[in-house]
């Protein structure tokens, strides 16, 4: 694992991606402290100001500081996808290990259900489900976890299945080891490389989906500064305040490119291409 990290950081593009992601993580943690203004503060007489020393990213249509809003917004766009990734990896790994190890009809049934779930376009289902549970941070996390767990489960299942017949797993069975021990001590370490790559991919897509939902108005509700929503709002007033669109859009681009560079590095170091979707 240590050598894997060293290999990763030796690749310039990966290092670049890692630095970008680290900066955004810092923004998510400390952003609200650095932000010069509260995200919802209407600054009197400062509407539609272009970027300047006072307002780094300018101000929007109704006089809020875009820089502050982007900083505040970093928190949701990073923590929600992180949480979704963590939860889908947790559930997906458990399901995947279990069915991959047992095989047989349990695997057959669960796998078919996972296949079916995977054949549903994510965004369409997310919209309907979010409408049902309400567009709250909890709702977004819940919906994306439901959508991504099957993907992770399928990856882990495939990896577990390939290890199931190994001598050391069979030796453990012959000793009468508990299933829990076999799954988590004997199989899990072998699945880890695939899992790390998959987690990075899922993180990237969770950001994508969260931002898209925000843009469509199903993200974190106003006046919270959601990057997707900010882009959508700025769209109507683009000719007057183009910077209110460019900065949050740029932040999304930069974050996703950073995560992608990082996950591409992981993919190459662990020699695992990852799943589509």
């Amino acid at each position: 694992m240590r050598t894997a990290v060293a290999q990763l950081l030796r690749r310039p593009m990966t290092l670049f991606g890692a630095i970008i992601v680290a900066l955004f993580l810092l923004a998510a943690v400390f952003g609200p402290m650095i932000a010069p203004y509260p995200y919802d503060m209407l600054i009197r007489g400062a509407a539609r100001l272009p970027p300047s020393a006072d307002y780094l990213f300018g101000t929007d249509q109704i006089g809020r500081d875009v820089f502050s809003r982007v900083l505040w917004g970093a928190r949701d766009i990073i923590t929600l996808p992180l949480l979704t990734t963590a939860l889908s990896v947790l559930f997906g790994t458990s399901i995947g290990l279990f069915i991959g190890y047992y095989g047989g009809w349990i695997d057959e049934i669960v796998s078919r259900i996972l296949d079916a779930l995977l054949a549903i376009p994510a965004l369409a289902l997310a919209l309907v489900m979010l409408r049902a549970v309400g567009p709250s941070p909890f709702g977004i996390v819940a919906v994306i976890v439901v959508l991504y767990t099957p993907i992770v489960a399928r990856v882990v299942r495939a990896a577990a299945l390939s290890l199931r017949g190994s001598g050391y797993i069979e030796a453990a069975k012959l000793r009468g080891e508990a299933v829990r021990y076999i799954l988590f001590r004997e199989i899990l370490p072998g699945v880890l490389p695939a899992l790390v790559v998959e987690a990075a991919l899922r993180f990237s897509y969770a950001i994508f989906l969260t931002a898209s939902l925000g843009f469509l108005g199903f993200g974190v509700q106003p006046p919270s500064p959601d990057w997707g929503r900010m882009v959508n709002e700025a769209r109507t007033a683009f000719s007057q305040v183009p910077w209110a669109l460019w900065f949050p859009a740029g932040a999304i681009i930069l974050l996703i490119v950073g995560v992608n560079l990082l996950s591409d590095g992981l993919r190459r170091v662990f020699r695992y291409e990852g799943q589509l979707l």
Binding site: G167, A171, L174
Partner: protein, 691 residues
């Protein structure tokens, strides 16, 4: 003077590893003459396949030539570009690859792939090329070439796939054939047929051939001259009769001596070559074999011996060959005496009664579609008993059900029917219903050492886990450590190995750790599934000796599964032979090896290649394909391939089990006396497929 087809002179090849260039082949020289089948033997890592491809001027991207020449019919090949090679590849020299299925394109038909080569080099039209392909298939003795032409590679059996690759290689009548372990993936009986085919075809076409193999026996049976490669260097090169009859190199001598064979007496151990072959990254400055050589001197370790030409047609690379040739130095290859062995005891450790297992039953879909798919009957009504402190060898080819039967016994698969008894106590067929006391007594050693150990846990952790888990009381950390140390020393590994991870071990070392793990709780029965088949020849004997020693030391019994009757015969007291899920013969080693025996056993023994070009053996070949276990033949399951089939009765009636002696049973329609007479009367007769 005749020009050699291939002449390799002082050839050096390097691979790049990180920033370093490592020597893969050093100062290799030898020649292949017209009409000659030249054997190239070596263990894994010796560079034999690399050398074979180098002769074709084909290299991996990380390789570079670091000196020397390769001449093909007098022309220097190494300075030719791949584009220039295109008129030679496939036309004047062809490759028969190791893994035929992988070497054929999965999405083109067999006919197209064979035809492609004559279309390219002889400018034949599509139709002509296909006709030629069909003719070639007939020449490799495929009985219905019209059908096979239209098949895709995956639809053919392993033996048929290999015939296709040889048909492809021969269709332009090349001057040189390179055969890279072409039968390694095949069963012995199929291998015997294919090797006969190679011999005939190569001699018919007057091509020269380089036959690469790790199997000393096979090379002895097929080749005129043999080159022995070790650690990237030529150790010896000689006519086959000399190399096997009067070996001069300590490596060749020890290697030949270490081949497993039948031994009388349980105390004997095989002579072994200690240690492991040097890794690519740390090959010694002196003789590459010095570290493992029983006759190595200080000079050998310091200085590389030259490759000398002796007696006009032999090459040898050893400082001491003169002493060996004159008889002044004798490499000790007398069988070692083991730790003694307690004779088998009365009573049985394990009894398996009427075991039955079918895989892959028809699914709902099959029933709805009425596909007529039948379950695969892997093990059918098989019974066996293992005596206390003895070894039962379970022999058969792939698809015989031997591995499945073993897995039913240890519980990795659950039998559909049958009964098991371990140490006179009933043993549940399901693994998860067996108490710890039973689990402890029944352990297994697996075939592939590379996945036998968890790559993420140290050797000590894995052995410790087995020791602790299988013990009834809670063991202190010190006790566990002590027992792990004892286990490592029992398999002759230094105790520092406890700290190592599997990736740091060689194949043989991994297998020793796996054996140690099986012995963690002093089991009564250890099931060993092909424990040496994935290992190099020089390491196999070490493992076989170790198993024999452990049996003496720990008083365990073995159920030893193998496709190699000779390896089984070294260790086993009794042998069970399986064919298509059924036991066809069982008896003591002596009984099974001598007449009368089941016609299948007879063919199996005859197919084993002996490492002696002068050996006289019965020549029995099984033609035809192994039937699918989904669609078993009626009557006797062996009748479709049996060279001694007596008539319609074999096709219609299941054969009786006849007793041929004390504890010796044969499942055959032929009465015992007739069987004995047939098999004794004409021992060297050429018996081919009946009908």
């Amino acid at each position: 003077m005749i020009t050699p087809v291939v002449q390799v002179e002082d050839f050096n090849l390097e691979y790049r590893l990180g920033k370093r260039w490592l020597n893969v082949l050093r100062d290799v020289s030898f020649a292949i003459m017209p009409d000659e089948i030249h054997g190239l033997v070596g263990e894994s890592g010796s560079g034999k396949s690399t050398l074979a491809l180098a002769i074709m001027n084909s290299f991996t991207p990380n390789a570079r030539v670091a000196g020397g020449r390769v001449r093909f019919e007098g022309e220097d090949l190494l300075d030719r570009t791949p584009a220039e090679m295109r008129s030679i590849w496939g036309k004047r020299m062809s490759l028969v690859p190791q893994d035929a299925l992988a070497a054929l394109n999965p999405s083109h038909t067999v006919g197209d792939q064979i035809g492609e080569i004559t279309r390219l080099h002889e400018g034949l039209s599509r139709r002509e090329s296909l006709r030629r392909a069909e003719e070639m298939l007939r020449r490799v003795r495929i009985s219905d070439p019209e059908t096979v032409m239209r098949r895709y590679p995956h639809q053919l059996s392993g033996g048929m796939q290999q015939r296709v690759t040889i048909a492809m290689a021969l269709s332009t009548s090349p001057r040189l054939l390179i055969l890279d372990e072409p039968t390694t993936a095949l069963d012995v009986t199929t291998q015997a047929v294919i090797v006969d085919l190679f011999r005939d075809l190569i001699h018919d076409t007057h091509a020269a051939a380089l036959y690469v193999s790790h199997d000393l026996g096979l090379v002895a049976q097929l080749c005129d001259r043999v080159t022995v490669l070790y650690g990237g260097e030529v150790m010896a090169c000689a006519p086959a009769a000399d190399l096997y009859g009067r070996p001069l190199h300590p490596y060749t001598i020890s290697l030949l001596a270490s081949l497993p064979r039948r031994t009388e007496g349980a105390e004997t151990r095989l002579p072994t070559i200690e240690g492991v072959a040097p890794a690519l990254a740390d090959r010694p400055a002196g003789c590459v074999f010095a570290a493992r050589c029983p006759a190595a001197l200080e000079q050998c370790r310091r200085e590389k011996p030259p490759l000398e030409v002796i007696a006009g047609d032999r090459l040898i690379k050893c400082w001491r060959w003169r002493e060996i040739a004159s008889g002044a130095l004798i490499i000790d290859t007398s069988p070692q005496q083991g730790a003694g062995d307690a004779p088998p005891r009365d009573g049985y450790v394990l009894t398996a009664q009427a075991m039955f297992k079918a895989f892959d039953p028809p699914t709902l879909v099959d029933r709805l579609l009425m596909t007529g798919r039948r379950p695969l009957r892997a093990v059918d009504d098989a019974s066996l008993r293992v005596r206390a402190r003895s070894t039962l060898g379970l022999v058969g080819e792939s698809g015989s059900g031997k591995t499945t039967l073993a897995r039913l016994i240890v519980g990795l698969e659950t039998a559909d029917a049958g009964a098991l008894e371990l140490l006179d106590m009933p043993l549940d067929l399901r693994l998860n219903r067996r108490p710890r006391s039973a689990l402890r007594e029944l352990q297994m050693v697996f075939q592939n050492p590379n996945d036998a150990l968890n790559p993420y846990l140290s050797v000590g952790e894995q052995l410790g886990r087995a020791v602790r888990w299988l013990s009834d009381e809670r063991l202190s950390r010190d006790t566990v450590r002590e027992r792990v140390r004892a286990l490592l020393s029992a398999v002759r590994l230094p105790e520092t190995f406890a700290e190592r991870y599997p990736v740091e071990l060689s194949g043989g070392e991994k297998q020793r750790v796996a054996i140690a793990r099986a012995f963690a709780a002093d089991p009564a029965l250890v099931v060993a599934d092909e424990p040496t088949s994935a290992l190099d020849v020089s390491v196999q004997s070490v493992i076989l000796n170790l198993l024999k020693d452990l049996r003496a030391l720990k008083g365990a019994s073995y159920l030893l599964i193998s496709h190699n009757l000779d390896a089984v015969a070294f260790l086993a007291d009794w042998i069970v032979v399986m064919y298509l899920g059924e036991i066809v013969e069982q008896g003591s080693v002596a009984q099974v090896y001598s007449a009368p025996s089941h016609p299948y056993t007879e063919a199996l023994i005859s197919a084993i290649p002996v490492a002696d070009p002068a050996a006289q053996r019965k020549h029995i070949r099984l033609e035809g394909e192994l039937p699918s276990p989904r669609d078993l033949p009626t009557g006797c399951r062996f009748h479709t391939r049996c060279p001694r089939k007596i008539g319609a009765i074999c096709e219609h009636d299941a054969p009786p089990i006849r007793e041929a002696g004390d504890g010796h049973y044969i499942r055959c329609h032929i009465p015992i006396e007739d069987l004995t007479r047939l098999q004794v009367e004409d021992p060297a007769a050429h018996v081919s497929e009946a009908g």
